[in-house]
């Protein structure tokens, strides 16, 4: 029986966005955190291990895509620690200043290289359907293609059949497809697949004792350097009027609001 791999991205936290004087995203100010949907992926990996793969180990792989790497170290450790506390057994961190700002081309090739470097033979590789910073949802598909494994995207439910096949519900726009594929396979999960539980204090304490490996591109084979160039990132400033409609009675407020909507041309009398 092989192992489970879960992909955990330390992503820029969009809630902490700040602009520079010129309205550009102030990357230096923004902290990283474990991308929300990756939390669902670990939760699912732990559930699958407990239900079907008791003897398997759960590995996590995190590729640092925002730099400079030394400055991000604390945030990256926190994100990885969260995975370990939730049930990951051993963590790999790929951090290299020539890989920032990242590109999914680089991330996917680094993940595949890490799997090879640590001689992992995965039964299942799980990741979130997209990350909260880039939100393009392509890393899992790239990894599947590079490893020539079956790929199931947007899974909102996963079961293992006869220990050798995965059955999943793919949640796409107009329908849900129940699909089956032979293991090993790569899966991306949606936020609806489970409700992640916060780790307990004991789990958090145990986490720091688990093995963590930090590697650079030079330690790995065939990592592709970023190709896409981030020319500019600008804070989106949607200017709204922010007028609070007030009045002595609710009726008066309703009428003032209706007056405003009419004068804006939003509704017609």
């Amino acid at each position: 029986m092989g192992d489970l791999v879960v992909l955990l991205k330390p992503a820029l936290n969009p809630e902490m966005i700040r602009g520079t004087g010129e309205g550009l995203v102030d990357f230096d100010y923004m902290p990283l955190k474990l991308s929300d949907i990756d939390r669902n992926a670990v939760e699912e990996a732990v559930r699958l291990k407990n239900t079907y793969f008791k003897d398997s180990k759960i590995w996590s792989i995190s590729v640092v895509t925002w730099g400079p790497v030394t400055k991000r170290d604390k945030d990256v450790r926190m994100a990885v620690q969260e995975g370990l506390a939730k049930g990951v057994d051993e963590a790999i961190i790929v951090a290299d200043d020539s890989g920032v700002p990242g590109d999914p081309v680089t991330t996917a090739s680094a993940i595949v290289a890490a799997i090879k470097k640590f001689n992992i033979s995965p039964t299942l590789i799980l990741g979130g359907e997209a990350t909260i910073d880039g939100f393009s949802g392509q890393v899992t598909g790239r990894v599947a293609a590079k490893l020539d494994l079956p790929y199931i995207s947007f899974a909102r439910k996963i079961d293992i059949v006869d220990g050798s096949r995965i059955r999943a519900e793919r949640d796409v726009e107009d329908y849900v497809d129940v699909v089956e594929a032979p293991l090993p396979a790569v899966v991306s999960v949606t936020r609806e697949i489970n409700a992640p539980r916060p780790p307990t204090l004991i789990q958090i304490r145990m986490a720091s004792k688990k093995p963590q490996h930090v590697v650079k591109f030079n330690d790995l084979a065939d990592v592709v350097k970023p190709k896409r160039r981030l020319v500019e990132a600008r804070v989106l400033a949607v200017k709204r009027k922010q007028i609070i409609v007030e009045g002595k009675t609710p009726e008066e407020i309703a009428d003032k609001l209706i007056d405003a909507l009419i004068s804006e041309g939003a509704i017609r009398v």
């Binding site: 910073d133 939100f135 393009s136 899992t140 804070v235």
Partner: protein, 302 residues
């Protein structure tokens, strides 16, 4: 120079063609329910695949890609195409981006813009070609048809490893929220499914469609997913958006950046939605919404 356009719906393909034509010759890979004869009227050779699952689309596209060696692959942003095209991008280690617009094809590279940081920022990127671009919907004009109808080639579906066992169509509320002029949108401030009637009544007087935040569709399932507005739901562009009992999380706001006028009704005056609306009413929705509906009825004489 060549480009491949991949898609199922004619409107999506027509938008992608506008972008792809910048690269020169175009071939179209149409799959699933698309009608290849109608698509051939755009003047580009159409390869048609009956299957619509991502693995079949990937396998067909890969073969076409190897034959044509295009500089660009252009498609709409859909979940199945994210799946199929990320595999192609992975095989060849080529750049891929989703939800892109303002695409400009240059010498050896392509530039574009897209939403970033859960919709709170816009990134401008430049990527070397070949590259894979999945377009944001309705941000590109549709291409016009050509005088001459092009050839149609039927492709065979290869046997894949991911097999569909059952397809369950999703329940639909019958809305086309992306095209709505006025939207009344409900959030977690509503305490039960029955209470949504307050929003429906208001929508009735306004001739509005019903939208909602993620929890209402995804967790509580009080409304079908075609009502879901936001980063992972639908992006809307109405004249008027009325957010009721919605806190204004960035992922929700990401869906309404193109709304002309935003009204918020919320009983928490510190809710972020008030910083992101044009007109705000700090009130209990259970009291205010019925009253607003009543006054609108009287004044609009409906």
């Amino acid at each position: 120079m060549t480009a491949i356009v991949v898609g199922e719906k004619e409107d999506d393909i027509a938008e992608a063609l506008t972008v792809a034509r910048q690269a020169g010759d175009v071939a179209v890979l149409a799959f699933g329910d698309s009608s290849p004869q109608a698509l051939a009227e755009y003047g580009h050779k159409v390869y048609h695949l009956t299957a619509s699952d991502p693995e079949s689309v990937f396998t067909a596209l890969r073969k076409l890609y190897d034959d044509l060696k295009p500089l660009l692959v252009v498609a709409p942003t859909t979940k199945n195409l994210k799946d199929a095209l990320s595999r192609l991008a992975g095989i060849y280690d080529i750049p891929m981006a989703t939800e892109v617009y303002d695409v400009k094809v240059g010498q050896g590279s392509v530039s574009y813009r897209r939403g970033f940081l859960s919709g709170r920022a816009i990134e401008s990127d430049e990527a070397p070609m070949p590259a894979v671009l999945l377009l944001a919907a309705h941000k590109n004009p549709k291409a016009s048809k050509a005088g001459q109808k092009a050839e149609v080639v039927e492709l065979q579906t290869a046997q894949g490893r991911v097999k569909s066992v059952e397809r369950m169509p999703k329940q639909k509320g019958g809305t086309n929220i992306e095209a709505a002029e006025i939207i009344v949108s409900a959030g977690r401030g509503f305490r039960s499914k029955e209470d949504l009637k307050l929003a429906f009544d208001l929508a009735d007087v306004l001739g509005a469609q019903i939208g909602c935040s993620r929890p209402i569709a995804a967790d509580l399932k009080w409304l079908s997913e075609d009502h879901w507005v936001g980063l992972s739901g639908h992006k809307v562009a109405p004249k008027l958006y009325i957010a009721i009992g919605i806190s204004g999380a960035p992922q929700h706001l990401a869906g309404i950046t193109d709304a002309k006028l935003v009204v918020a009704i919320n009983n928490d005056k510190s809710a972020p939605i008030f910083k992101n609306c044009d007109y705000g009413v700090v009130a209990d929705l259970y009291q205010f919404v019925p009253l607003l509906t009543k006054r609108l009825k009287e004044r609009l004489k409906r």
